[in-house]
Subunit: 416 residues, 2 copies
């Protein structure tokens, strides 16, 4: 809401914002459609050259937003020609009118881009339960299509236009080679920011000029999500609108690759995974009220999936997160979070570290434990928690932020 | 910790504390053993007459405390002669020394009560990871055994002795008849209070003079827990020490009953269930920082278990809980919490109420929605959230409290 006070930039924001290079086949325009905000851009129109392939992963919510339903269906037919993202209204829980609004948006977008509606991908973030007036896109998208740009300023503007209460824009870029051809990967994201009655939504869009078929993109994205966006949590709440999409224009003209496991893709895979991790970490660093960035490592579990569930149990525990906010090396709460995960664990084999300071081992306080050393670790803005279950080879790593009064302030909107 | 400032009494505390009548076969004494606190009682010794039967339900944590392990084993052999509870030290995550400490406590208790160690039940709450010096019970328990009392003051003292940072003592009482014989049920509980590095622990002990065999008690307690303590949540974190026990002395001399489903127990079952619900609600009303008591009703689910998981997803959602703290009728967050539960739900059939104000129906905002009416409901100290999934007959009801800055203050112990 334009009248809301602007929250201070997260203390965990990167010192500098990367400049994103052009991606062949991608053109960008942003606009003010007046969806809800005034005095700021609220529409991103991103044109994709013919032949662009798309992949996506979406919220697992049983109550997804209308745009999520649309994207899932649109992926069934190959090809992507434009991405349209608006902030200010999530078009979620809007019933039949929501479906009509997204269909109208696609129709207007298709006319602007000169393509079929099912080549238009749509994401919306902002207030929910309010009907989205898609007629506001009329004229706006055609105008956008006529003035797309490709430089770093356009990418920066794209990252800005999709923000709600993010305190900083989130951009990342990587280079890789596929069979000797250099390709570029650019990504933008928005994190969990919220002004009541808005809803936190994670949106992220990644673009590459690599020439890759949809099936390969989908595999790379799904696998990459496992170690990046699916390993980040702010408060354990899942938006109805979470969307991560990967678009490949093919402008780089690399040799055809048809298998995601192809050895020639190893560099691209590594670069994509790395970029996804960077974007995911940026989301955690802009979590509501975040003052500390937290990495949770779990090892010695009976399997990787088990380790992941234990790590998420730790990362989502309000007691662990408030302890970290309070710079309190409270390993008892870590034990609690391990215990409640429901995964195999043996109390008497547990070892726990904060940073590189081992605070507990063999199910009891480490005899060499130094309160002073642990406190020094807790005062850092980046804090790691490591748990060794001592049972097997399963491991996982997830990221989160601390839980502070700022979270309550942002989400509580106290009236009394 | 004695030096910590005393938090104000929860605004949700009952206006008056009930006076608990004597229970035949139960004698109570409290003492200052100096476990951790000074200037307050920290030991409850509760003598049970020969022939007393016991039942218990305990934390599902994979890392339970040493006393929880002890009670589980002690239940395997029939009979209970004393309950010993200490506050100040949870004897959790203390390794082999924790097992030794609980065994020594039982030995000292058995000498005081004149019984076998496995007739002694033990619970501990307070700091974790610190070895518990059980030699502090020497003399103290023998002294307690020599001066047990039975009146309302003794019950009030019992509820006081087991508090950590609870802001009010929790007591409840009920009468029932079994086949014409009047029996009494008294219960005490402590809730989730915490001073870093303490750990929240839910302890509750229920006593009756009814004559009932262990197998019947265990069934009644397990079934009663499903609709009471298993339906209450403060922050979704599960203690390593959660303990709920039911003791029956038999002093009422009612006719023998051997089956928990016996029709003659219907009044007792109802009274027990009602008492367990009252105690569970008191725990939610004393949740850290609680300013509002929240009842979540889910109906129209595909089954009761599904309804329960959806209700807990709503009750544990930080976004729902902060909205309620902010007196914001934010039904979008309720939709979010329904969606993330992973249970069957159809966005377009959902209806949501705050209090008796329907805010959404058929997957969209209720056309008759009145912001004013909804806001009036949210300003009450008791707030109910009702969701109708419109799919089947499954229903559930759970209780929680709002999430306020007070929670962060109590658990965050800010050092910066």
């Amino acid at each position: 809401m334009s009248s809301a006070k602007t929250p201070p930039v997260s203390p965990l924001a990167p010192k500098s914002v990367p400049e994103l290079p052009p991606i062949g086949g991608v053109g960008i325009a942003t606009a003010q459609a007046g969806i809800r905000y005034s005095g700021r851009t609220d529409v991103l129109y991103l044109a994709l050259q013919p032949g662009t392939q798309a992949a996506g992963v979406f919220t697992r919510s049983k109550c997804p937003s209308a745009p999520v339903d649309w994207c899932r269906e649109a992926l069934a037919s190959e090809g992507a020609r434009a991405l349209i993202v608006n902030s200010g209204n999530a078009n979620a829980f809007t019933g039949a009118r929501g479906r009509d609004a997204v269909a109208l948006t696609a129709k207007i977008g298709a006319e602007a881009a000169g393509c079929r509606p099912d080549e238009i991908f749509i994401a919306s973030t902002g207030v929910i339960g309010e009907p989205l007036d898609a007629t506001k896109f009329e004229g706006v998208l055609t105008d956008c299509a006529a003035r797309t740009e490709t430089g770093p300023e356009a990418w920066a503007a794209a990252a800005q236009a999709i923000m709600t209460t993010d305190t900083f824009p989130k951009l990342a870029t990587r280079k890789a080679t596929i069979d000797g051809t250099e390709v570029t990967i650019n990504g933008i994201a928005k994190g969990a920011g919220m002004i009541a009655p808005d809803m936190a939504t994670m949106l992220s869009f990644v673009f590459t000029d690599a020439a890759l078929p949809q099936v390969v993109l989908q595999t790379l994205l799904s696998v990459g999500t496992r170690t990046s966006f699916n390993c980040v949590t702010v408060d354990g709440d899942t938006s109805t609108s979470d969307t991560l999409m990967l678009f490949a224009t093919g402008a780089a003209g690399n040799a055809p690759v048809t298998d995601a496991g192809d050895e020639r893709l190893s560099g691209f895979r590594a670069a994509l995974d790395d970029l996804l991790i960077e974007l995911a970490q940026l989301v955690a660093k802009d979590g509501e009220g975040a003052r500390k960035f937290v990495t949770v490592n779990v090892k010695g579990a009976t399997g990787d999936a088990s380790a992941h569930r234990i790590a998420m149990s730790i990362a989502n525990s309000p007691l662990v997160k408030t302890a970290i906010a309070g710079e309190d090396a409270n390993w008892g709460r870590v034990v609690m979070a391990v215990g409640k995960a429901g995964e195999p664990a043996d109390r008497d084999r547990l070892a726990i570290w904060f940073g590189d300071v081992r605070v507990a081992r063999e199910g009891a306080r480490d005899p060499d434990y130094s309160e002073e050393a642990a406190s020094a670790v807790m005062r850092e803005s980046d804090v790691s928690v490591t748990v060794d279950l001592g049972l097997g080879d399963g491991s996982a790593r997830v990221w989160t932020c601390d839980l502070t009064k700022g979270y309550i302030e942002i989400n509580g909107d106290y009236r009394s």
